[in-house]
């Protein structure tokens, strides 16, 4: 019993000397901005992939094939080593904030490919007749996509979009590769300096992500039934 409370005491001092909440907050911010970025980029890509213009369709498909099949770590390292160090493209003059922004870019660019495919699977749930009826009343491609196809496609794509968001939240740990101090990076540091409570540290960070991700899963399940389009 004594050794257990001793272990707990050591764990508490470890927690106190590091800003665990602050590190998770970085992951939350990364996930939020990258979710926005990848949603916008992914929607544009999905529009390209369903557009009547063959070269747009080709460009959209090429993007998806490249970024969906490249490991995120490579994209992230590319952003830092090539974009920042080689080409000196800085998004902010603040050293750390620059890396943070590049991490958002890397995450957005990568997950946009998955968002695009999720939306496209949603488009497949929309009967062809919806697009034909839209064209028949005189809507051209973009208005038809915006008012008729995408609203229904998003509702049909909530589950795969939720999965993409869950993957994105967990993938924010890869931002460590872009020298951003976030949860996974902090975990490594803590383990290095406090190997005595290594199990508790692992459990803390795993639990942190589970707590972040579970509501997303619950929300998407609820939304996908609530917003389902009845036909």
């Amino acid at each position: 019993m004594d050794s257990l409370s001793e272990y707990f005491q050591s764990y508490l001092t470890a927690l106190e000397s590091y800003d665990v909440i602050g590190a998770f907050w970085v992951n939350i911010q990364l996930a939020f901005w990258a979710a926005l970025g990848s949603a916008v980029l992914g929607t544009v890509l999905a529009l390209m992939r369903i557009s009547p213009v063959p070269s747009f369709r080709w460009a959209g498909a090429t993007y998806v094939n490249i970024f969906r099949n490249t490991p995120l770590t490579i994209i992230m390292t590319f952003c830092i080593l090539v974009m920042v160090f080689q080409l000196q493209i800085n998004l902010s003059s603040d050293f750390n904030f620059n890396f943070f922004l590049w991490a958002i870019v890397g995450l957005s660019v990568y997950h946009a490919a998955f968002v695009c495919e999720a939306i496209r699977s949603g488009v497949n749930t929309v009967p062809l007749g919806q697009a034909e009826a839209a064209r028949a009343i005189g809507l051209s491609f973009l208005p038809a996509a915006r008012m008729i196809i995408l609203p229904q496609a998003f509702r049909g794509a909530i589950a795969p979009l939720g999965n993409t968001l869950i993957a994105l939240i967990k993938n924010t740990t890869v931002a460590a590769a872009a020298s951003v101090i976030e949860a996974a990076g902090l975990m490594k540091t803590m383990i290095e300096f406090r190997p005595d409570v290594i199990l508790a540290i692992f459990a803390t960070f795993a639990a942190g992500f589970v707590i972040l991700v579970i509501p997303v899963g619950l929300l998407t399940t609820w939304l996908s039934t609530k917003l389902a389009v009845t036909r």
């Binding site: 009547p52 007749g129 919806q130 009826a133 064209r135 028949a136 009343i137 005189g138 051209s140 229904q152």
Partner: protein
Amino acid sequence: MTSDESHSEMPPAAPAAATGARSATPTGQPLVSLKNVNKHFGALHVLQDINLEVTKGEVVVVIGPSGSGKSTLCRAINRLETIDDGEILIDGNKLPAEGKALAKLRADVGMVFQSFNLFAHKSILENVTLGPIKVKGMKQAEAKELAMSLLQRVGVANQSQKLPAQLSGGQQQRVAIARALAMKPKVMLFDEPTSALDPEMINEVLDTMVQLAKEGMTMIVVTHEMGFARKAADRVIFMADGKIVEQATPEEFFTNPKSDRAKDFLGKILEH
């Protein structure tokens, strides 16, 4: 994306001028005119050298066996399908290839589909007001008034706040007719508007169509409903294997078909 909304109500200069110049159709000038239209689906020659003229106010019923190209003909007229060669003119204007000009001209051609195709995520009222507001730039209040009067006319005004899935098939199809009428089309195309309906709902839709015909709407109707053809059609066109095989008044066609294909076909549908 919001920017193209404002553009869509403004047709490109050239086609607009052309529309203006010819908007008063002289009697006799065809409203819809197909000249030597050909269309292939791969090796299949679905439309073979189709020539067809429909004058203003005329009601034409297209009839023929499955796969004869009736739907393709309808869809070619508002360019949901492209054609390989030939010419299709709506009120003297050639159908533009793509883009805004085509979208504009499409609004002149109302289309009613076999499967209704009401916008599933929009209310009945929104289904009808969407085109006038977004394509024609009509004011919200004016569009609503127009939509309610049209819904009244087809007898579903009391359902205006519901979603399409909450209506019966017959009601949905009448809303689809109202949606097409809201664009004030010059001609209405119907592709088997009653074939997806339960028998007890067929008549409510046909009655709406007969009414429309009486009011002078130019209509091209693919249907096997002989009652409708007899009551409302000026002309029956019989299609087989991608060709127009025979055309006649309904009375003449149903009582005294000339071609063997038509006799054979009528024999088959009359058995039912």
